[in-house]
Structure formats: structure tokens, C-alpha cells
Symmetry: C2
Subunit: 203 residues, 2 copies
Amino acid sequence: MVQYKLHYFNGRGRAEVIRLIFVAAGVEFEDIRISREEWPTIKSSMPLGQMPVLEVDGVKLCQSGAISRYLANQYGLSGKSEMEKYWVDAFREAMEDIGKKFPFSEKDEEKKAELKKQFFEETGPDGLKQLEKLYREYNDGASFLVGEELTVADLTFISFADFLKALKEDIFDCVPDLVALDRRLREIPNIKAWIERRPQSEF
Amino acid sequence: MVQYKLHYFNGRGRAEVIRLIFVAAGVEFEDIRISREEWPTIKSSMPLGQMPVLEVDGVKLCQSGAISRYLANQYGLSGKSEMEKYWVDAFREAMEDIGKKFPFSEKDEEKKAELKKQFFEETGPDGLKQLEKLYREYNDGASFLVGEELTVADLTFISFADFLKALKEDIFDCVPDLVALDRRLREIPNIKAWIERRPQSEF
């Protein structure tokens, strides 16, 4: 059996989709959480000096999107046909685009407050409405974002919803079909159990 | 035969990797270039209101990364094994990360000039050195970024190099193995001919 060790901070962040793949597939992994204090001493041992890093039988893989795509292929979570695979990727990229609009790296506090307001009132809800529209038009509000079975697009959606709701709890109020999707996905037994037992963290 | 129509502005930008896949695979496509004046009247007919959009026998696909991954799968440019596929994705994501550090969306001119300087002197070259290190360690400076054949990682690299060199011509001076890779890739006959005949554009 392949031995997986996941290295990341004590947070959901860019590692949670990877964890959710293991959880959904029922595959064991070691969930190593590095403190901010330890990180500087470990950084140089990680490819590109970043985390998450997934060790696969001792080989260190970096880049969260590439890791989750690799694992999704291993565990049948990438979509059934070439066209489903495309849609899985397209939904992932659309969520990434919305997330990117949040002003994480803005250092000027006043400017940041203004950009956050703009995100919460305009770009965030607008992006969510576009995402919901794509879901309705493409998959007619089906049980999953793509096709008729769980894919990594849904797992990415859970992590994306966690991220946005931590910033503003009611940000999904304008997109009822996405709220319903989120609720359904969180009722999947493996996922539900993981959300209940995972370590609490700020991000 | 599948009919492909690519819709984008008259620029390389987020469409060039898609064009390079068609070129490398020797597949015909209609290269539709929309002017800034036409765009507002067309925007609402495009999924997510964005371009590039690829029409595949009349079905409109959005999100450049998802489109290029789909096409790369069709034309055998995604890597031979699951592990090669992972590396193709990882290199793509690493280049995306470097590009993201350029302050495109900064509106304050003074701040932008400062952030550009920082990108050209620090974050840009640092990112390129890390990328070169990954290439050396993983593929030992082989003819291609991943494995022994051309993949979409190489095509992404060509587009990435075009983008960075348009910002600062000598930005690759610090990474000789990447300069050599870039030169080799541009000598591939189909690619060389495309670079010579493609429309000139600012971005």
C-alpha cells in the first residue's frame, strides 16, 4: 500500500482539498501539521520552499492543484469522460478565479478594508452568481457539480465554501442552488465525519 | 473532424498555450481575434463573460487552463505516465504562481512602479531560479521540462517566457538552463513557423 504523508500548516487552506480526496476515497494518510515556529527550519527541505507537500512513498510532491489532480486520477474522482474531466477542471478554475479576487496580499490596511468591502459587496457575490449560473446551465442543478457522481470539483467546492464562509458567513445567501449543493455534499457520510473530527483552525 | 473556433483578443495572453497545442499537434483551428471595441457586445454570449472561449463543434468551453488540459489529453501532450502528468501540472502551476506575482491589478501608479521594481529585482528572478532548480532536480536539464517528449508544460513555458520577456527582455539572464530550454523549444519546426507567422501583438 502506498504511504502518504501530507505536510501543511494547521489550517485548511491549500491542503484541505487533498485531505478531502483521501477522506472521500477512504484512503489513509498522515496529516502532518507544522507550526509557524517550526516552518523556517523545514522550509528548505520542501520543493519550491512551499507547502502543502505530499510525500508519496518518500517522494515529495509540491503544488496543491497538481497534487489533487494526481490523487483524483488515482481514486476515480476526476470525472468519467474527457468532457466531464474538462468540466471538473473548469469549475475548479472558476472557483480559483473568485478566490483570487480577495485582497490577501494588500499591505495598506485602509486600502485592504476598501477592497474587502468591494469583494463582499460586488466581486464575490457576482462571481458566485456566475458560478451558480454555470452549474445550472451545465448540470441543471444536479446532485453534484459535474456528472452524476462525486468528483474533485465538489471537494474543491466544499473547501472554497469553507474559505468564503470564514470570511463572511452569509456570502452564499445570493446563490440558493450552491447553498443546497453545499448542504448535500456535507451530508456524505465520510465527509460529514471528517468535518466533525478535523482539527479546528482559523483558516 | 472536430471543428475548433478559438475566441480571444488580439493577444497571446491566456490563449497562446491553446494555440500552441493546436500548432504542435498539427490541428487546424479558427483563430478569431476580437477587438476591444467589439468585446462589450459579445461578452454576454460567452460563458462566465470571459475569454478565451473554445468552441468545440459549436459547444463553448471557458477557462483557459481547463481548455488546454482537455486539448493536451486529446493530442497526447499531457505526459506518458500518471507521475509525468503530475509533473506537467506541477510545472504549469509553478509558472502560474510566478506570473501571479506581477502587480497587474494595482491601480495606484506609484505603488505599481514600486511593486514592478520588486518583481523584476526579487520575486521574478527568485521564482525563475526555483523553477530552474526544480527542472534540474526533477528532469536533470533534459530536452523537455517533463519526460522525453514535448508536453503542454513546455508549451506553457514558451507562453510564460513570451510574457516575461515582453515585460523585461533580460529577465531570464539568471537562469541559463531555462534560456537553453526556451531556445530548443522554439526550434521545433511547427512552433518555429507559428512564432514567425502569428500576428504581432502587445501582450
